[in-house]
């Protein structure tokens, strides 16, 4: 029984981090239909911000989350203006963004490598390798803190989307861009800020990732597939769906890893994606797909 509970705890712990990593990705897709393949490299950029603040000044990565978020928010605004804004009217916008963000991912990969070298890094606060032991059960502190931080941020984001005027505007734009514009929403500005927020979420996730996984610039290629599968499973742009998918799949993967072998745990995400596309292509929380 303890064993099962333990695996559950470890699965949830990992899922909390994945939820935050995928939340910015799903938000950006939801509002702007941008398939942001550069999201994981932005997470790594945030991780580097926290890593250097910790290494040079001893600032705890959880405390440096706002800094990483702010840096990425600004990067987001600049990138949106430079790269995405001019194409927004294009009929093939979504397809185009796949190529654009892929190019961005490769550019940032090279840039981070040139700036910080391709060597592995990990932020090492004291709680990074500790655990709280409750009898035979243990909860890893790094994952616990990261999970709490994730849920505070995601909770804040949900409140923001639900109860502020700007949040309304974002949700309206997500639901129907043209209608929102007709109702007087400045969709261009909403898109700009949302892209910034999406990347800020990546930055915040990066701070947490910096002490949970060791990382180097090329690490992002390993994450993109898992994060994209969470977004699709959650229902393409549905925040709650993505969070549920992240938690659920991480728990399933933990059980698979424990009882069927680690080789299969990573595959869980893709098998689930496969099955979901066959059975319920709109994802867990997605709307029914209408024939175009």
């Amino acid at each position: 029984m303890i064993d099962i509970l333990q695996v559950l705890v470890l699965g949830l712990a990992l899922g909390g981090v994945y939820a935050l990593m995928a939340s910015g990705l799903t938000l950006i897709f939801g509002v702007m239909r941008i398939v942001n393949l550069a999201h994981p490299i932005m997470i790594l950029t945030g991780a580097f911000v926290s890593y250097w603040l910790f290494t040079l000044y001893g600032i705890d990565p959880i405390l440096s989350m706002p800094v990483a978020a702010l840096v990425l928010f600004v990067i987001g605004l600049v990138l949106y203006k430079l790269v995405f804004a001019r194409e927004a009217a294009s009929a093939k916008y979504s397809e185009m963004t796949v190529l654009l963000t892929f190019a961005l991912a490769m550019s940032f990969d090279g840039l981070l490598g040139a700036l910080f070298s391709n060597t592995q890094r990990v932020t090492t606060p004291s709680y990074g390798t500790q655990a709280i032991f409750l009898g035979d059960l243990f909860i890893p502190t790094a994952q616990l803190y990261a999970g709490i931080a994730s849920f505070v941020i995601i909770g804040g984001l949900m409140l923001f989307l639900r109860y502020t005027r700007f949040g309304y505007a974002i949700r309206a734009t997500t639901q129907n861009r043209a209608a929102a514009q007709l109702m007087g929403v400045n969709v261009e500005f909403v898109s700009l800020v949302t892209f910034g927020i999406g990347l800020a979420l990546a930055g915040a996730a990066g701070s947490l990732v910096s002490f949970i996984f060791s990382f180097f610039p090329a690490k992002h290629w390993e994450w993109i597939a898992i994060l994209m599968s969470l977004v699709v499973l959650g229902g393409m742009g549905k925040l709650m769906g993505t969070i549920v998918a992240a938690l659920l799949l991480s728990v399933i993967a933990a059980f698979v890893g424990t009882y069927a072998g680690s080789t299969w745990s990573t595959m869980t995400f893709f098998l689930a994606l496969f099955v979901m596309l066959l059975v319920r292509p709109q994802g867990l929380f997605g709307d029914r797909i209408e024939e175009a």
């Binding site: 064993d3 333990q6 695996v7 470890l10 699965g11 712990a13 990992l14 990969d109 090279g110 490598g113 070298s117 391709n118 060597t119 592995q120 890094r121 990990v122 090492t124 990074g128 390798t129 500790q130 655990a131 032991f133 243990f138 890893p140 790094a142 994952q143 996984f213 060791s214 180097f216 610039p217 090329a218 290629w221 390993e222 994450w223 597939a225 898992i226 993967a253 933990a254 890893g257 424990t258 072998g261 680690s262 080789t263 745990s265 990573t266 595959m267």
Partner: protein, 425 residues
Amino acid sequence: MRKKVGGMLLAAAATALASAAQAEAPIRIAASLPLTGSFSVSGAKHEQGYRLCVDLINEKGGLLGRKLELILGDNRSDTETAINQYERFINADKADLVFGTFSSKLTFPVSAVMEKYGMVHPVPAGGALRIWSQGLKHAFYFQQNAAELVGESLVEMIDALVPPDERPKTAAVVHSDDFFANGIAAGLLGRKVENPGGGVVADLAPGYLADHDVKVVMEERWPEEGFSDWLNLANSVKRSEAELVIGLTASAEEAVQLTRALQTVKAQPKFLYLSQGTQAEYAEGAGKAAEGVAVHTSWHPAVPFVGLLAGATFTNQDFRKAFEAKYGTAPDEDSAIPFAVCQGMEQAVRATGSTDNRKLSEWLHARTKEDPVRTVLGPFNWDERGLPKGRPFLEAQWQGGVLKFVYPTDEFEGVAPLVYPKPQW
């Protein structure tokens, strides 16, 4: 008549000019390395090793009166890219010499390209036995021995340094599903080594662990890429209650992840051995958790090997100093091994007076115990497969933040006593 003489003079002058230009044309050396991607930590260090060696030779006047030019490609830890780059080096760049790449995974396919063109293939990292059982004629390995034999040094060290009643009786072997890690695991667990196309290369039964009465209570492999569930894996290791934990990977980054996870879940084996983790980055990432972790290594700063460079004696200490002067950090084996590759090839070119790869291959094959290639990794002569003869692996252990050399104990001075059992974390 006058005109004819003039023409002849012109032709002679042109020939002289051409040969002078040829004499001055640099010797082109090419290597494809994983400078990005999952092997980037080791790849970047390989670049440092190659570059240092080439620069030092150039500073000392070059080779055969010619300067050396190093052409490097980043293969992104990807096999297809590595193959393409070597094809290009040989066919388009007309490289005179090629140096090998990092890790068995990339070396295996690349070895076929080298063999196809009859290029000497000096291999810095590519220990899997499958590489050396293909009948390669021009490949030479610049580490101690095949990956499958790594485990032998480990169990022999434990037998030699730990009293019988304190030795570990159970083992957990966890490893990446990678060419190199699978090779070491095959030796430890006594598996058959098979070629991709079928056919058994070697039957390693019963395996070093069974051979030394260590019972394997857990064996688990994780996927080569994209694995992140380290805590869960570490928890399984803990539940196995193995006294000896063996973690095998070709990636220094994974070694950090595994160590940190084992520390977090408080798995407390008597001994922890990893196949990667000699790098300063490992010590930084694992922090205090590195204490007592044992790693096999092909090189150690304290080992008094005497090599040759630019025709003169060049000791391991000379290498350390030159590396620190150039890069401002201490070298580790990932830089020392490629440096040794470059030393070996330089000695071959110097001895044959040529960059004819056939002559170089013959000369390297003709090395003996008495007349070996001399490098910072020690002397090398090879068997017909291209594997070094009579070279034991070195075993090292992190003690007080320093990688101490612990086994074999009788070859050199300055060997530290083994810390056993590993301190609890």
